[in-house]
Amino acid sequence: MMSEPITPEEVTHVAYLARLRLTEDELSRFTEQLGAVLTHAADVEALELDDVEPMSHPLPVENTMREDAPQPMLKPSDFLNEAPAVEDGRFLVPKILGEQP
């Protein structure tokens, strides 16, 4: 097994992928704690399971479709009333590229 199951650089990268920012303290604490979980998971990693089919779900369900018929639905306002920012009946977000004007 590797000496370090996960490095601070990897934790920083994973945090960014998950849209989280870590302080220096958090980075060292989370690196150690995630390392402990991954060290424990080494037992699974070490298993020889080439012939075993993965099982992603307890039920063998296929796509579930309802009949394509009109049904009562919630109004857009039911959702928009609870949103942090709304304009013209839509969710409002900050500028997507670059800085705000």
Binding site: A41, V44, P58, A83, K95
Partner: protein, 483 residues
Amino acid sequence: MTSAIPDHYQSASSIAANVASGEISAAETLEQYLNQIEDNEKDVHAFNLVTIDEARALANEIDKLVSKGGNPGPLAGVPVAIKDNLCTRGIPTTASSKILQQWKPPYDATVVRKLKEAGATIIGKTNLDEFAMGSSTENSAFGPTRNPHDFSCVPGGSSGGSAAAVAAGFAPIAIGSDTGGSIRQPASLCGVVGVKPTYGGVSRYGLLAFASSLDQVGPFANSVKDAAIVHEVIGGFDPLDSTSIKEAPSPFTDLLGQGINNLKVGVIKELMGGIDGISDEVIARANEAVTALSNAGAQVEEVSLPAALYCLSAYYLIAPAEASSNLSRYDGVRYGLRVDGNNLNEMNINTRTEGFGDEVKRRIMLGTYALSAGYYDAYYGKALKVRRLLAENFADLYKDYDVLLSPTSPCTAFKIGEKVSDPMTMYVNDVCTIPSNLVGHPAISVPFGIGSDGMPIGIQILAPPMNESVMYQVAETLEQAGT
């Protein structure tokens, strides 16, 4: 005062019978429970919100229906506490997280709707580990819940508020969710009955998703019979849940009172000392449960579930992987908290960084890592294969045995603060309960005596999918032997 256990518990079935016959009103019943909450909730902190006005309105409706000679339903006037990760229309639903910021859902979870239709009085929203991630209810943004048997101890988790509410007599019934043991473990630590139904047996519509292939909603009660009655109310096909099972199971109360003569019970040796970390005292108590079932006429034998050795590792890869995907929706756009930034990406980062607590961040990062290129096959892929092995192990055992038995929790309730700083130590609390989630099978925790610390011990009965009636049958026998 250091504890808050009432002298006796009233059963949900007797409340419903008395309310339906007009012997006592739903309104009077509700006030009894509100008084109990008034007296002890400041010490226990089972609730994020007690919905007094809404509960009184529901109770009055039931009383009106009864006075007109209508059928008020199988849970007439029964106060029910709801875990705060189940949507309640117009009533804040927080998942005990800052990121939802008192969000008010525009709809009721199917479970909540069914409870109301059955005449239940929804009494409030119970505390939990943030987004149901934890085994102690210490990971709540609103502070921990305390065990009603001893305020210095945790109630277990993540449905610790629901378990504590039933143990403290704040409600005869509570609803929780169980992804890796989050109903059964707190039931065990608080000395009440807790059930994880068959995956797909109870609708997940309106449950804030943690790990969608593992999450299941179920009841807490003071008796096996009450749990079975509530399970019948909340279970059944729901077109709004794409993993809901269409076939109707046999009624869960059918085999109650039948005894267990000649039933075959397998005792899972890996969870009776085969895996480290399960206390000797708990194992000794589980062995007494084995003797009790044997004395009641069951054939009891030791069995092996070899894949159980790898379940904890597999679970702590699969559940975080699914969580990292499910919790990506909390981005500051559609609901809850928004912390502004110079652009969309910064706003997303600021919102999630401020809104999520440490345990949720750990699991999101762990899941993101387990799913990332280069590690997917080694971690997530392998974990899914362990899941298959486990399902095959169970299928083999259920050819010969009606139910399986193990302890519910490896230990009795621990002290608040004792384990919260060491995630891996905390995760071991789920070692006996995780297998049922990985394969989607039902399991129940039944109180069975106390440990040397005076705290409750629970025994777990596991059953094949959609076979809850036999699970309840055996659990009832155990309940009678344990009291």
